[in-house]
Amino acid sequence: MINAADTAAPLLEVNRLTVDIDVDGEIRHILNGVSFTLKAGEALGLVGESGSGKSMTVKAIDRLLPRGARQGGSIRFRGRDIATFKGSEARRYCSEVAMVFQDPRVAINPVRKIGDFMTEAIVTNGGVSRREANRRAVDMLARLRIPDGARRLEQYPHELSGGLLQRVMIASTLLTEPKLLLADEPTTALDVSTQAEIMLILNDLRRDLGLAVIFITHDLELAGAICDGLAVMYAGEIVEQGPHVYEAPRHPYTVELMAARPDIERRVKRLPVLTYNLERHRALTAGVPAAAGEEQRR
């Protein structure tokens, strides 16, 4: 899968992406030149701490930036700048990029049946009949290892456990046959064995459908175990990226971040505390062009 992906043209190219937001007349630089590429079937782990810009990066890709945000740089999908998409092209892009959020209960309408929720997009935008939509929904639920799909379609969200509901959410986003899945902490709220199950399903989908995935997570072990490569964000920049990051991090921030995480194999007397800060970050990146991270990756 990885070898095949290596030769293919990138599905997504994010190039020197910047986002500025005006907060009470003060310009805040949220993203400062984020660059990475993603091929079909590839999984990228976007890791970093609160406020590092990982969610904003994904929002920019999903064209969900907050009102008043100014974007620079470019995001290309199959070689074309997504900023130029209008009308039917924009709608098509929306169906090709799917998003899964941390808490499924926030993202689903509690008073509508699972079936209505799942099939709405393909019935209203895809011109699929309700009967056909239901059939596809049941098939997709089976793919996500939910066997009694027909019964699930008649249920309400509160009747399902968190893990089951998150699988329903993933199934419903996949019904529009997306090429790229943006998953923002999709399993953080779930039990570990449920998390493992969902990761396994996503792995199968990557292999079977060539689905590319961007995982946003603060769980370095999860990202490292699942993804082809990691991109580590700090202060709105990717400080280090590539397939080596999890096994052999090179950037001082990544090294410190990895070391600060407790290890299930052994207990340490004291966990090392991060010394990397904005001052050091600025000193380190002074005079380095935004695309340097990309060069480093090659």
């Binding site: 701490e49 609160s50 456990s161 968190g162 039990d191 570990v192 064995s193 449920t194 998390q195 493992a196 199950e197 990761m199 396994l200 792995n203 603060h218 769980d219 370095l220 072990e221 999860l222 490292g224 175990a225 699942i226 999890y246 096994e247 410190e256 971040l257 600060a260 995480r261 407790p262 290890d263 299930i264 194999e265 052994r266 207990r267 340490v268 004291r270 966990l271 090392p272 505390v273 991060l274």
Partner: protein, 275 residues
């Protein structure tokens, strides 16, 4: 469990604890012991009964059967009167997962700490109280400036430190930490885990640590209780249980933790049989 320990060595003893909701036993025949100055983890997934167990220990739920003895005194039945409630508060405090919702948004941190001191140390003079507030802030690595802040002006890590300061202000014997570091960033989590270890060493507090994060459990606890469907499936020394889990469910939990060379296929088989 061995019964050689004298009551003075035991911070918390839970015996044959049971809680029924209708016909369902949410907690069934749960027994464990937390040594004085010790740190015990309760791990398990949703519906395992770990939170219900903690609620009964806190006095937020009444057990259907069984006993809870904290600091040598029974707390299986609800407290009678405010003096009893205060005494129980001095014995046992809790730090919740989410410092955003467990702090009063309109109360400054120093005032919050002073209020705890007013309740639990009524004869403390005002200057002594102010000095103690400052000391508590220092213990958790906060400054006087943080003391003057409202929770909204603080970061998540600072808020959780404030919640820990509030818990130790009453000088409790036992602190229940209910997923207290789960929502924190890695860098903040490391600081808070170090802080908890320091406080335990300095003050001799006992921790009851409720968590689903086995790496954190390894770092912060000595003993572990693994719960599933309301019952204990395995308990013992933390390192022994994590290194050589005996029960299939513990093995499944252990295998579900992402790590280098994570074998999802083998896990699927384990889920198929054990889950």
């Amino acid at each position: 469990m061995n019964d050689t320990a004298t009551p003075a060595d035991v911070a918390l003893q839970v015996t044959s604890l049971r809680k029924d909701y209708g016909h369902i036993a949410a907690v069934n025949d749960v027994s464990f012991r937390l040594e004085r100055g010790g740190s015990l983890a309760i791990v398990g997934e949703s519906g395992s009964g770990k939170t219900t167990t903690a609620k009964m220990i806190m006095g937020l739920e009444t057990p259907t059967a069984g006993t809870i003895v904290a600091c040598g005194r029974d707390r299986s039945t609800p407290a009678r009167g405010s003096a009893e409630r205060r005494r129980r508060g001095r014995e046992l405090q809790i730090v919740f997962q989410d410092p955003y919702s467990s702090l009063d948004p309109r109360q400054r941190i120093a005032d919050m700490l002073a209020e705890v001191l007013l309740i639990h140390h009524r004869h403390m003079t005002a200057p002594a109280r102010a000095a103690r507030v400052e000391e508590l802030l220092g213990l958790v690595g906060l400054t006087e400036r943080h003391g003057r802040s409202l929770p909204s002006a603080m970061s998540g890590g600072q808020r959780q430190r404030a919640a820990i300061a509030r818990a130790i202000a009453a000088e409790p014997e036992i602190v229940i930490l209910d997923e207290s570091v789960a929502a924190l960033d890695v860098s903040i989590q490391a600081q808070v885990l170090n802080l908890l270890a320091d406080l335990r060493a300095e003050l001799g507090i006992s921790y009851l640590f409720i968590s689903h994060d086995l790496a954190v459990v390894r770092q912060i606890t000595d003993t572990i209780v693994v719960m599933r469907n309301g019952s204990i499936v395995e308990q013992g020394r933390t390192e022994e249980v994590l290194d050589a889990p005996q029960h299939p469910y513990t093995r499944l939990l252990r295998a579900s933790v992402p790590r280098r060379g994570w074998d999802l296929r083998a896990l699927r088989e384990a889920v198929g049989t054990g889950g």
